[in-house]
Point group: C2
């Protein structure tokens, strides 16, 4: 095996000294990662502002502006220097600061120190970076069932970890006991993965449940376990009921216990309706972590960015930054939220009508883009999906015994008809 790079050794020493639990949680690979501050990248940064700069790895015209294809330049309303050069592996500094500030606005109890968010090429990339830094082959990642199917590709296929599930619900509530038991019984490294608002169910913990989840994790940490809590905040902000905990769980885990490291994966993809731009963020926090330790985690994450994609789209980052600084930002976000909220109220009211209860049960939901219907015994979700496609020209997703319906993508007007068709397809099958 290649020798550990001296910069990785230096970074690891900071963690061993300042944050032994974080060091313990890192995978072997995670200990090898570092940010190459002595390489081409930093030499390029040194040369910023020189009279003659022959260090830059892009092509500049004789006017010192980036060379570019005129059709691309005409199609992006950004200065060429914002759209065409590389963004740097950490991402654009001003965007990272803007995102961190927005995180704190959206999560008022996030008053603790965090690492400066590192820009990723979308949220899945953030998850993959977590895998690179923390997952050893055979590690168990505990998460509620049901879950988004791509986690298996990222964590199992990519890193040889195993997804271990506990049921999301206990009756109509989040299954805190199940979570606690799963972590308690784990003999190896304790890794908890939480995605709220949840894909596929559209559930987010209520205020008291969020508190109980944090207490459960804190208790287990207090008994002497190091715990990694991975928080996938893809659907952050789409919360439609007053009793839901309105912040990211990162607010609770980021300052919970010295043995708990929280990693927040978020971005503009779903929150800001910009799926195709591929801008995400990865942010670390943990009680008692020094700025030096937080910096090391950010450096290692940026090292993974460098080694896996070099950097995220500069054009996308500048487009997001421009939008976030615009007076339209909050208004546009709110308009989308309001549309989704109306649909949520309508579809849940319909699906809770008595006539639906014979064939299906709406799983508890209060947030996000989706909801799930659990079909009564004897009904095959995949068959119902096929029937809906072929006989009712209606698209839904079948997951085991559930149908997932994205009210995010269905206008208010046909929502009632959608529900009726699902019911009819079930009735046909009985």
């Amino acid at each position: 095996m290649p020798h550990t790079h001296p910069l990785a050794t230096k970074a690891n020493r900071v963690l061993e000294t300042n944050a032994p639990s974080v060091y313990a949680l890192l995978s072997g690979r995670g200990r090898e990662y570092y940010f190459p501050v002595t390489g081409i990248l930093s030499q390029g940064a040194d040369a910023d502002g020189t009279e003659i700069n022959g260090s830059i790895g892009i092509a500049l015209g004789d006017d010192l502006e980036p060379m570019r294809l005129s059709d691309i330049a005409k199609s992006i309303d950004l200065p060429p220097r914002q759209a065409f050069p590389y963004a740097g592996a950490y991402g654009i500094k001003t965007l990272r600061e803007e995102w961190q500030a927005s995180m704190k606005r959206k999560n008022p109890s996030m008053t603790f120190e965090t690492s400066l968010p590192v820009v990723t090429a979308g949220l899945t990339h953030g998850l993959s970076i977590v895998g690179a830094l923390f997952l050893e082959a055979g590690d168990h990642v505990h998460l509620p069932y049901p879950f988004w199917d791509n986690y298996a590709m990222t964590f199992e296929t990519g890193y040889g970890a195993e997804l271990e599930t506990f049921p999301l619900y206990e009756g109509e509530k989040f299954n805190v006991a199940g979570l606690k038991q799963a972590l308690k019984q784990e003999k190896g490294k304790k890794i908890l993965f939480l995605n709220f608002p949840n894909n596929p169910t559209g559930y987010a913990p209520r205020k008291n449940e969020a508190k109980e989840i944090a207490e459960a994790v804190c208790d287990i940490a207090a008994q002497g376990s190091d715990i990694l809590v991975i928080i996938d905040d893809a659907y952050f902000g789409f919360v439609f009921e007053d009793d839901v905990y309105p912040e990211s769980l990162f607010s609770l885990f980021g300052n919970l216990h010295e043995r708990v490291l929280a990693v927040k994966i978020d971005g503009c993809t779903k929150e800001d309706y910009a799926w195709g731009l591929r801008v995400g963020f990865i942010t670390f926090a943990g009680k008692g972590l020094t700025q030096a330790a937080l910096d090391v985690l950010g450096d290692k994450a940026a090292g993974v960015v460098r080694g896996t994609v070099s950097n995220a789209s500069n054009a996308s980052q500048h487009l997001l930054l421009k939008a976030m600084r615009s007076p339209n930002y909050q208004k546009d976000k709110r308009a989308g939220f309001d549309t989704m909220h109306v649909r949520y109220q309508k579809i849940t009211a319909i699906l809770r009508q008595p006539k639906f209860q014979t064939h299906m049960k709406l799983l508890p939901c209060n947030a996000g883009y989706f909801l799930c219907l659990e079909l009564r015994e004897g009904l095959d979700a995949e068959k119902i999906r096929q029937k809906l496609l072929k006989e009712y020209s209606t698209g839904v997703i079948a997951l085991d015994r559930f149908l997932r319906i994205a009210f995010s993508s269905v206008p208010e007007a046909p929502i009632e008809e959608l529900c009726e068709r699902v019911l009819k397809a079930c009735e046909d099958e009985m």
Copy 2:
């Protein structure tokens, strides 16, 4: 360890039957990868065109157009449906076809079958995908020295492989004997990595050398070795001398021998002056590979895309596609090439003047964005770089005993002054 997914087993059987050498070259992880055709993605595709579509994982307004931030929408001249939704893990089909056609235009001897290029989030992502599919911890990746430093982060830190170098040059020529010896002596899996035009040297093999390289690899394959040839074509097309082999080496390796699998990593980043958009491609070919085997390789690559970044930027892909279809495309590309060509001729003519030879030697170069100066013994490249920064306001990159100069980023006018400053800095040190 998680069980191999049935779709991976099915994919592997195709390779075992049709392409045993390819199967042998895959890493354990590479054998686990598959494209999740039965998951949420394909169910979503099934529902395309339904009257009521509740399967889509993005948010649509009541007008069925993607929700979006008005400031981003105003800043991209693309229909919202091209900029905002996800692109799909394989990338946009029309772009993949357009890129494949352009590959064949640029490389007239690429008359063999290839996989349809899969879109990656930039070229480094393509390299990382190769690592995921083919590299086992401890595998040796043979490549000429010097090389781009980020390969170490991608292949060594990311996958535990080891970079094994042979000297790029033998005198003024490419070191075919060194390449042959390196592969011959390799006891394990034989993996060759070639990056031409080369970063940092700006060298590309001459026509006869390219032929000799291919013959060397063919000989070793014929002796019973499976060989993976990874071709990083980042700087493709910037070739400034008539005796250089003008095509990608993929043209030679893609139909060379049944035991040779060629992987081509390329994209618009450098070729099309679009560094910040992050669009690359990964393409496979090998003598005798069936369409089914090529498809499996594309599926596995798209599986890695799905698990590591979900998909590459849709906006960037559509911007590239739009530019490639424009009558300005060839003209813009040519204008950039001509500018670089003039600079190349000027800087190489200067650096070959006798007065420079006392202190430095221009390494053979004929292509790309860069050139390298090897400093005479006793001169420390890092010291010269620092002196150039501080006393001459001039930026270059120091790599071991070389200075890398990017004529890509220096206008023609100050090139002579740049060379003089490098010379003076060296003279100061003697």
